[in-house]
């Protein structure tokens, strides 16, 4: 086993409840001889991976690790990350996944993952659809204040279907629900028989915001499947939100998160 592996094990010892480690911590956590623990910590400090806390024998991650860790945020763009997550979920559940961005009152699909079921929801990349009349759009609109939403629709709404919000008040009520529940859902809106679930996440550093969406024929998904999709999307988006420190991200209610798979 290379010393690299031992060093990584040390890094994995750090957590939100353990901000620093000592030689004995390593002995008990990793079961290594304390001679190794002692030398390893010193070597990692000498190399600049760790630093000692004041004059004590406690070690914590170094500034270097902090800086390299920050690179990760820039290395992958928000869209890349969201796309990777939606791609994975789409693979798992077999339904179509896509990510979209909002431009004003419109939603634009950016990337799509077709899904593999015979009955498949097909969405065109690059098409603009009305934000208020789709789950992706409402997931993104829910990140605005009610006032900002009103400003987007100075002339009210022109509902494309009976299941979409019919007026501004109905839209605001549904956005309130999105903010409460952490996800947006549509049913029979753009296409009859199609259900879609969306979660939005942003990067305050760049101002980008995307919606992650899984879309499927309503007849094909059981209530459990629907819950699983909500959970997957939310978990994936939460990962991104943690990375970008998105202050607007809404985690789903624990009651949903805890439901058995």
């Amino acid at each position: 086993m290379s010393i690299l592996s031992a060093a990584v094990d040390v890094l994995r010892c750090f957590s939100s409840t353990r901000h620093d480690v000592t030689v004995t911590d390593l002995v008990s956590l990793l079961g290594m001889p304390k001679s190794n623990a002692s030398r390893l910590l010193r070597a990692m400090r000498d190399e600049g991976l760790l630093e000692t806390v004041g004059a004590s024998k406690r070690y914590r991650p170094s500034l270097l690790l902090n800086q390299v860790g920050q690179i990760y945020r820039f290395a992958a763009s928000l869209i890349d990350r969201a796309d990777a997550i939606v791609g994975r979920i789409s693979d798992e559940v077999g339904h179509t996944g896509y990510i979209s961005v909002r431009r004003g009152a419109d939603i634009i699909g950016v990337t799509a993952h077709p899904g593999r079921h015979a009955l498949r929801v097909v969405t065109a990349i690059g098409d603009r659809i009305s934000a208020f009349a789709s789950s992706t759009g409402r997931a993104l609109l829910a990140r605005l204040s009610d006032d900002e939403v009103r400003q987007l629709y100075p002339d009210g709404l022109v509902p494309p279907s009976g299941t979409a919000p019919q007026n501004l008040d109905e839209l605001l009520a549904r956005l309130a629900r999105v903010r409460r529940e952490g996800y947006a859902e549509s049913h029979d809106e753009a296409v009859r028989g199609v259900r879609a679930i969306s979660v939005a996440v942003g990067d305050p550093a760049t101002g980008d915001e995307v919606a992650l969406c899984i879309s499927f024929p309503a007849a094909m998904a059981s209530p459990q499947e629907r819950l699983a999709i909500i959970r997957s999307l939310s978990e994936g988006a939460a990962e991104i939100a943690a990375l970008t420190r998105d202050p607007l991200f809404i985690p789903i209610r624990p009651s949903i998160a805890e439901t058995a798979p």
Copy 2:
């Protein structure tokens, strides 16, 4: 030389302008045989320090590094507190705020708050700049004795601009002024037309020291605004100093503190 040292060298290759590396990058940057570079990158990926970008042969820092790097902020709780205060001030005044630490004669930005004005000072996190030629640097250097400062610059200064201190005596004179007034200021130093005000504070228990800084276009801030920024920074730093019992903290002169808001 241990493989740990080589791995850290790889991590040091990452910067704000290099988000990923390849085998050949390492060969040219570190002068190592490409057989080593190839194996090292793979080992680091297998251990979870790096991840490959998509299906390409590019490597970037992993989520693990991002997470461990975040620990640094909590481990060095001084940074967290300082960051919160600078963030609040930045929100209030709308200008860019950041906090930095000193490593030898260099200053490294740790966190930043962009500010919301159209004309905005942008500072790169993780970049090293000369301590003596910035307000953050001088705020931190002012915590050292003149002798300690002299030891940091055995070969004198290489001023990057005409407004920075031109020699050691000039630097010491400016540090004396920082100690007298409780804040450091720069004007037209790193960037033309940019003014920055910094205050330093430390935690004697851990030995950590940080500088809190607000940076703004000189043309955009009135004398009153400038005073308000000095006051806010100093009050925030004083809060931290009280918590950590920092014996080196210098409160601003009452004449400034009392000026009407």
